[in-house]
């Protein structure tokens, strides 16, 4: 029987980006807030100091900062007619764990989705006709528009000190920025980061080919910055140990550097770490959350009652908790009914390696940062006419190589043996003169009827609860999109002066062992129709009005950009709705 703790106004499950933003907003409103985080407390000078953070084996290969599958994992299959098996070690994505969540180890690539992304279904049908879309594609409009979110994107960018070049300032296209972006109300808070050699060279090649390259918007500081909460960040020193790693010198935007030192001083905020929430409790009517149950390090259960529950864990853990707590109707792909688990998506990633004459090119790939690179957006979203191509969607592409850590970055030209003297000399001769962009092509992943989440019938976690099952495969649409984009990307790499270009298309079936970003989305999506969405436009549960679910869980489909900017903007948007509307009149904010 769980022991009951004193009631709080708000309990927040998970203290990552959205948990931190929510906690800060709601404590400003005077509410008594407790955050419960499954993983440990983490902070810069202790967990990732610059005297041992530069450890590729420990943090990138053995992924020390991440969740252990032993604590929780998922089962996976490509198709519904297969048996799902456990993901016993992480592969295609890597869930975070600990205070700061993904915000600790992210690249800090900080993009906004395009205006058309939010009204995708309407937009695509209008332009191409309904029959242009695959029959089993289940994309939806979001219920919010880019204009709704613009001030909240801005708030996040200023919180983070995002370094970038505006491309569209209140409708006026700006030279040097992304001409395809939605209009922004003011410039970025920091100028863009300076680009190292290969990244600048890509930009030049892209420009020569007629594209409009721009610096990737970055949460690594281009200069010392003080954010609106009075917190100081230092300039990024291009260490090349960004994603997978915590930042050792306060120069990457994270909850640790942009929110927590301010938040922790508030007398109406507290945090429990190393406590895993296992259940969102609802009353007998099923329509009101009463708080959460969590397990401490000793295995004992506790109940934290609260008037308002914010589910702010990583995407798939949000969905998992909803399923275990029996909140919302689970999705049934056969009957095409239900909402929890539907519209599950990932990201369509590929790359192209380039090999150059080592007597003419010295790239020093180890000089880099997490969100670096000159990018082009000509092939994202609906920025080009898809009519002749037979697919929808797209992505940005760029020489976004974030470092030269040698275990993972000793590319050899195609055809080189994988071992032996030939491998050795190829590794030696190409390290300084090759480019390995990593996620050079970063494409959208739209939603489909048979790509979804539900509970596994066989495998359980350490509490005996069913693991969540992922059924996910690529559809032709995304593979065609990727082939097209990869070819375009290769042209630019070639134009940089590479003597050999190695295209690495994304091919099906979806492989759970190959890393493809941790941009998992959907499963409890937002929308205007409770029969096809779990949350209303304010991220409020249709079923349980005092439950809000933040994160990319809300995305009805994924766009061709990194999700964090949009995840954070939605959190600010939901917080604003709670502060200005919900608290005055608790109850459903939208009547469907």
């Amino acid at each position: 029987m769980p022991r009951k703790l004193p009631k709080k106004d708000v309990v927040i499950v998970g203290l990552g980006w959205t948990g931190s933003i929510m906690a800060n907003e709601l404590t400003d409103e005077g509410l008594d807030v407790i955050a419960i985080e499954r993983g440990p407390w983490r902070d810069t000078p202790t967990e990732f100091p610059p005297n041992y953070a530069q450890d590729e084996l420990r943090y990138r290969i053995r992924h020390e900062l991440f969740l252990r599958p032993e604590q929780t994992t998922f089962t996976f299959r490509n198709k519904m007619n297969q048996t799902a098996l456990p993901i016993r070690e992480w592969g295609s994505f890597m869930p975070p764990n600990g205070v700061g969540g993904g915000g600790v180890h992210w690249n800090s690539e900080t993009w906004r989705f395009q205006p058309s992304d939010f009204v995708l279904k309407t937009h695509l049908i209008e332009r191409y006709g309904a029959s242009f879309l695959p029959e089993d594609m289940t994309i939806q409009d979001w219920g919010v528009t880019y204009d709704d979110l613009e001030p909240h994107y801005d708030a996040f960018e200023y919180l983070c000190g995002t370094s970038g070049m505006a491309g569209n300032l209140r409708g006026k296209i700006q030279d040097g920025g992304n001409p395809f972006e939605g209009p922004r109300s003011r410039p970025y808070p920091n100028p863009p980061q300076k680009q190292p050699f290969s990244h600048a060279l890509f930009g030049k090649a892209a420009r020569d080919l007629g594209y409009k390259p721009f610096p990737q918007p970055s949460g690594n500081m281009s200069q010392a910055y003080t954010n609106p909460l009075g917190l100081h960040l230092g300039p990024c020193t291009y260490c090349g140990f960004c994603e997978w790693f915590g930042c050792g010198n306060y120069s990457k935007a994270s909850p640790q550097t942009t929110v927590l030192p301010h938040l922790i001083r508030k007398s109406n905020f507290s945090l429990r770490d190393n406590s895993e929430v296992t259940h969102i409790n609802v009353d007998r009517s099923g329509k009101r959350a009463t708080g959460v149950t969590f397990v401490d390090t000793g295995g004992d259960e506790w109940e934290q009652p609260a008037d308002l529950v914010i589910l702010a864990a990583y995407t798939v853990f949000n969905v998992q908790l909803l399923l275990h707590s029996k909140i919302g109707t689970p999705y049934d792909p056969v009957a095409n009914k239900g909402v929890i688990g539907r519209n599950f998506t990932h990201q369509t990633i590929s790359s192209v390696n380039g090999f150059f004459d080592n007597k003419k090119f010295n790239f020093n790939p180890f000089i880099s940062s997490g969100s670096i690179g000159m990018c082009i957006d000509e092939f994202n979203g609906d920025n080009f006419d898809h009519g002749p191509h037979g697919f929808v969607g797209g992505g940005y592409m760029g020489q976004v190589q974030t470092g030269g850590r040698p275990i993972q970055t000793t590319p050899v030209p195609p055809g080189t043996p994988k071992w032996g003297a030939a491998w050795k000399s190829a590794a030696r001769d190409n390290y300084l003169s090759s480019v390995k962009p990593g996620s050079g092509v970063h494409g959208s992943f739209y939603s489909y009827r048979d790509v979804y989440l539900d509970l596994d019938p066989t495998y359980t976690d350490r509490f005996g609860r069913p693991l969540m099952r992922m059924t996910i495969d690529f559809h032709d649409n995304e593979l065609k999109q990727n082939a097209f984009l990869t070819d375009k990307f290769a042209e630019i790499i070639q134009a940089m002066g590479a003597h050999t270009v190695e295209k690495q298309y994304r091919k099906g079936p979806y492989d759970a062992t190959e890393y493809q970003t941790t941009h998992l989305n959907g499963g409890a999506i937002m929308g205007t129709d409770p029969t096809t969405s779990a949350l209303n436009r304010y991220l409020q549960s249709w079923d349980v009005p005092n439950l809000f679910v933040t994160g990319a869980t809300a995305f009805p489909q994924n766009a061709g950009y990194n999700p964090t900017g949009t995840v954070a903007a939605l959190a600010f948007w939901a917080a604003a709705a709670i502060r200005s509307q919900y608290l005055k009149n608790p109850g459903p904010l939208v009547h469907a």
């Binding site: 810069t44 000078p45 610059p50 005297n51 230092g234 030192p261 001083r265």
Partner: protein, 417 residues
């Protein structure tokens, strides 16, 4: 104890108590006046009674029982809440004044100078009584504290008679008429209620102030509290008055950050000082002259400097910059750091070995931390990198020896803070 003696002690105590009650404060008509209490509250903040007389984080305010580390052992602070039995509620004003400004207790015993009466003696009686008026309004806490926890022979209070004769000069602050009002106010605050001298003035082997070296830096509780005169190498010579004000008010400025014991002082005391008082303190400190004993600084051995530069580049430059200038308000400037160039490198060694967290205040909540390098750098390497930092840029401050590092490392090994 024999019955007769017991009875006489009892009668004596009862008589003393009756006298105390009879001579209680009821005679002073101004005691409850609001502005007197306000003034007393401010002065108590400047004198920072709270810090020593309260157990950090969990103790009731002013109820004592805080162990204070001194070079002679650990002493425990008394309860100064108005509780009549275990606090100072039954004391007369005279008794309070005698304790604070003379170091004498109502029973005639002397206080150890852990209670900074040698500094508080500079306060006028009315300031001390204002503090008393404030303290009389705090919540009384019934908590008996055994204060004399020093080891033998230091627990013999009678010995303080000798110490006082050697080191204690009773007397209020006398203004220097050749200096401005602000300077005098600053001098008063620093030497009197602010008692900066208690930590920052070097001590003799018996723990008395070495007045000739006023505020030139002193060691306590494993830290070297640096020179805070206007000395350009080891003191505040590079700091403007605004820098000093900002540091005291927020714990941070463009050059430095408060950590360790000073962090506590900022949070409890200086961050609450009036701006005019902070300016006065800055005026006074900056006026204190250059040291005569700065090392002539022969250039350290090139092998130390070369090794130190390699270590600095590889391990320190990520935060403190390739040029040593740091990042204002985030990473202290080593180029201008008095602490780094101090004759006594203990604080610098301590920070390198154990790391540190700078203070968080309302205005400056970031509280950046320095990681611990003790596991990574051996004594030779710490000595080399500190030697480099002390000599590579604008100031030359002599080398740091591996032996000094080793001694400090051993001393710090058992510390919990």
């Amino acid at each position: 104890m024999r019955k007769a003696i017991k009875i006489s002690i009892l009668i004596g105590t009862a008589a003393a108590w009756l006298c105390a009650v009879g001579m209680s404060r009821a005679a002073d008509p101004d005691e409850q006046k609001f502005d007197r209490i306000q003034r007393g509250h401010y002065l108590a903040t400047v004198a920072d009674c709270f810090a020593c007389h309260t157990v950090p984080k969990v103790g009731k305010p002013f109820a004592g029982a805080r162990p204070l580390e001194t070079p002679f052992g650990v002493i425990t602070t008394p309860n100064i809440t108005p509780d009549p039995e275990t606090g100072i509620g039954a004391w007369t004003d005279q008794q309070f004044d005698d304790a604070v400004r003379k170091g004498v207790l109502p029973n005639g015993k002397r206080l150890y100078p852990a209670m900074p009466f040698p500094a508080y003696t500079k306060m006028p009686r009315e300031d001390v009584l204002a503090i008393r008026a404030y303290l009389a309004t705090v919540e009384p806490v019934h908590q008996a504290v055994k204060t004399n926890t020093l080891p033998f022979p230091f627990n013999i209070r009678e010995a303080m008679w000798v110490w006082d004769a050697l080191y204690f000069t009773e007397g209020e602050y006398k203004p220097d008429n050749s200096k401005s009002a602000a300077w005098n106010r600053g001098a008063y605050l620093v030497q009197g209620p602010g008692h900066c001298t208690t930590c920052h003035t070097p001590k003799s082997f018996l723990g008395g102030d070495k007045n000739a070296e006023n505020l030139r830096g002193s060691i306590l509780q494993g830290w070297f509290a640096p020179d805070i005169t206007g000395d350009s190498k080891q003191g505040l010579g590079d700091w403007s008055e605004a820098d000093i004000r900002t540091y005291l008010k927020t714990g941070h400025n463009r050059i430095s950050a408060a950590t360790g014991l000073m962090a506590e002082e900022v949070v409890n005391a200086t961050s609450h000082y009036r701006d005019s008082d902070l300016s006065a303190i800055a005026t006074y400190l900056k006026s204190l002259p250059q040291r005569q004993d700065n090392p002539a600084a022969p250039q350290p051995e090139s092998s130390l400097m070369t090794a130190g530069q390699a270590i600095y580049q590889d391990k320190c430059s990520a935060c403190h910059g390739i040029d040593g200038a740091g990042v204002p308000m985030l990473f202290p400037s080593l180029v201008q750091s008095g602490l780094a160039h101090a004759t006594d490198p203990s604080s610098a060694i301590r920070l390198v070995l154990r790391g540190g967290r700078s203070v968080a205040t309302k205005q400056e909540p970031t509280a950046p931390g320095m990681p611990s390098f003790g596991w990574q750098l051996n004594n030779d390497e710490v000595a080399a990198v500190l030697t480099y930092i002390r000599n590579a840029w604008q100031k030359a401050a002599g080398p740091v020896s591996a032996d000094a590092v080793g001694k400090t490392r051993d001393q710090l090994a058992t510390r919990a803070d």
